[in-house]
């Protein structure tokens, strides 16, 4: 014991022993706090997973992986399946990205690149901040009262008239369904798309721009062949975060999707999403299997979100050829 202590004290003191000791103990405390914080996050994630998994067990043991492919959602007969809700979640999120990506990227390029109409930047930035700040339930209310009649009487008939040869735009439109929910989600993810894309575009080094312009490239050519390739990783990150928001959005979607567990090719038809089923049914869900199925849906949603993240990160990795820097 005494040998060990003697060995550790052996190197000559740097300044004063008391100060050094204080520093060392300060370091140790800092280290402990940092380790503690890291452990706490792991603990929270672990507790969360377990808390989701245990109540879901009755449903997992009863339905197993069949839960993922079953189309039945019948509380009376205690038969539950997640496929329509998974389908609805993925379809509405996809619609949201298809709409929000070009608009968001265009707005971001305008904000970051276009020297003309500079006076519009302030108001546009403000509008985006405003849009980001509107609570989803308010957007849902607006969609319920204003967007659904608009979709039913104008947008859906127009799409049916022009693109009606595609199976997506066939059938009668009630104003509620996949497409309307997708539009609502697009509005909700747009601020994320714009703000993040703008930031990464602005982060493109000035020297690259100037080099491209000096070589005789037009503005559009510079954007297309220099700026966008450089910002690709960051823009993918923006899409990723938007997708995360779209997958989990609950209340606004519940108000306009029609809440019908079905799988159709027509985007005019009503559907259901994972968060909507949970939000709608948990208050009156009595019984282990019923409640368990709702937790199972929650587990599925978490798994989908993780899968989307992993896939997107792998894509980023391949494109950029280096360790992803994160969004």
């Amino acid at each position: 014991m005494s040998m060990g202590t003697a060995e550790r004290v052996a190197p000559p003191p740097l300044v004063g022993t008391s100060r050094q000791r204080r520093l060392i103990s300060g370091d140790r405390i800092f280290l402990a706090i940092a380790y503690g914080a890291a452990a706490l996050i792991l603990l929270i994630a672990g507790v969360f997973s377990i808390a989701l998994f245990i109540p879901a067990l009755p449903a997992i043991t009863k339905f197993g992986f069949g839960f993922f492919i079953s189309r039945t959602w019948d509380p009376v007969r205690s038969q539950f399946g997640a496929l329509p809700a998974i389908y609805g979640t993925l379809v509405t999120s996809a619609i949201a990205l298809v709409i929000a990506f070009p608009i968001g990227l265009g707005a971001a390029l305008f904000l970051a690149e276009d020297a003309r109409l500079r006076f519009l930047r302030g108001p546009l930035s403000f509008a985006i901040e405003l849009l980001a700040g509107i609570p989803s339930v308010v957007i849902g209310l607006w969609a319920f009262f204003t967007l659904t009649p608009l979709m039913r009487d104008n947008v859906d008939p127009f799409l049916n008239h022009t693109l009606g040869f595609l199976p997506f735009f066939q059938g009668s439109a009630s104003g509620y369904g996949f497409l309307t929910a997708g539009v609502v989600l697009a509005i909700m993810v747009l601020p994320i798309m714009v703000a993040l894309s703008r930031d990464v575009i602005q982060a493109v080094p000035r020297s690259l721009r100037e080099a491209s312009l000096a070589l005789g490239a037009t503005n559009a050519e510079t954007i297309w062949s220099v700026i966008l390739p450089y910002a690709r990783v960051g823009i993918t990150g923006a899409v990723l975060l938007s997708l995360g928001r779209a997958l989990g959005e609950t209340i606004a979607v519940t108000m306009v999707i029609g809440n019908r567990p079905q799988i159709t090719t027509s985007l005019f038809a009503s559907g259901y999403t994972l968060p909507s089923v949970i939000a709608n049914e948990f208050t009156e869900a009595v019984g282990d299997v019923y409640l368990g199925s709702l937790f199972y849906l929650g587990l599925v949603l978490v798994l989908i979100t993780i899968a989307v993240n992993v896939i997107a990160r792998l894509l980023v990795w391949r494109f950029s050829g280096s360790e992803p820097t994160g969004a």
Partner: protein, 368 residues
Amino acid sequence: MRGATLTALAGGVLLLAACGGSPSGSNSSTGGAGVPTPPAAQLTGAGATFPQPFFDAARFAYNKKFPQVTVNYGGGGSGAGISQLTKKIVDFGASDVPLKASEAAAMGGSDKIIQVASTLGTESLAYNLDSVADGQLKLTPDTIAGIFLGKITKWNDPALAAVNSGVSLPNQDIRVVHRSDGSGTTYIFTDYLSSVSADWKAKTGGPGKSISWPVGDGAQGNAGVATRITQTPGAIGYVELAYVLQTKMKQAALKNRDGNFVIPSAAGATSAAKAFVGSSPSQFSIVNASGKDSAPISGYSWIILYVDQANKTKGTALVDFLYWLTTAEGQGYAVNLHYAALPSSMASYDLLVLKQVTSGGTALLSVS
């Protein structure tokens, strides 16, 4: 207790009495009209949202009458009420459907709890058709089942035209709207459909708070369904009477068991309830009732509590409050909100079971 206090504050209820510590004697004194004066206590309940407006009005009035008693009601849905009562977080639970055997077993067995009817409600079928005035549309059990089974899909279907001679029914798609959230309202409506249509029962498996619908879209809450119908041309859906009256929607005349077309009303619900003499938690269904004025889609709402109350003071205040709720005075607050008054037979049943509530072997309710 802290949770209960928070609930009280959230509910905006004045905390006139502190937590029920000092019992003001026994319950023998009466507060006029045969209602016992309760000891000071703070009571908490949770559960069904259907009777919530009634409970809110009634508990506020009771607190005015007896400032020493504060009653909090958290809503949250029948499922939440049942699970919180099982865990003894609340003093009473409310559910639109009496407990199933398995739920009662979780509370220690059906002999450990009692269930009293608190109020009575009825449902309307509201529709959105420009060419058909309020009350003009007539629906029979067969056509209602046909519409909700997805067999009748157009408003000018021959089956509808046959019972609506003289009404100009449009060549328009029927858009069925139902509740997307689990609810007692859905239970009562599907109970009705199951009792009038063997087809419905075979296809959906019978009544439920949340079911697999053959047709239609879901909207949240009575308000959601009501708004959805108002917004969508050609829509039809089941909505509690109060919402139909408040939003001035068009509602159909429904053919009852006696063959009369009736516009659903609170009086119609009471008439339906009277048609079932021996109603109790085990015989609770009152849909498709006989009686010439009976509203066919009606049902009771229930309050659940433990027979043996651990805290005598609290238990006494609880049964005193619940008894008051079933008296004419308490039921008056229900009637104001378009619920129907309990028939006297049901009020007597409630009194009978409330008298069974004990604490340490002593009965808590002293009403002759």
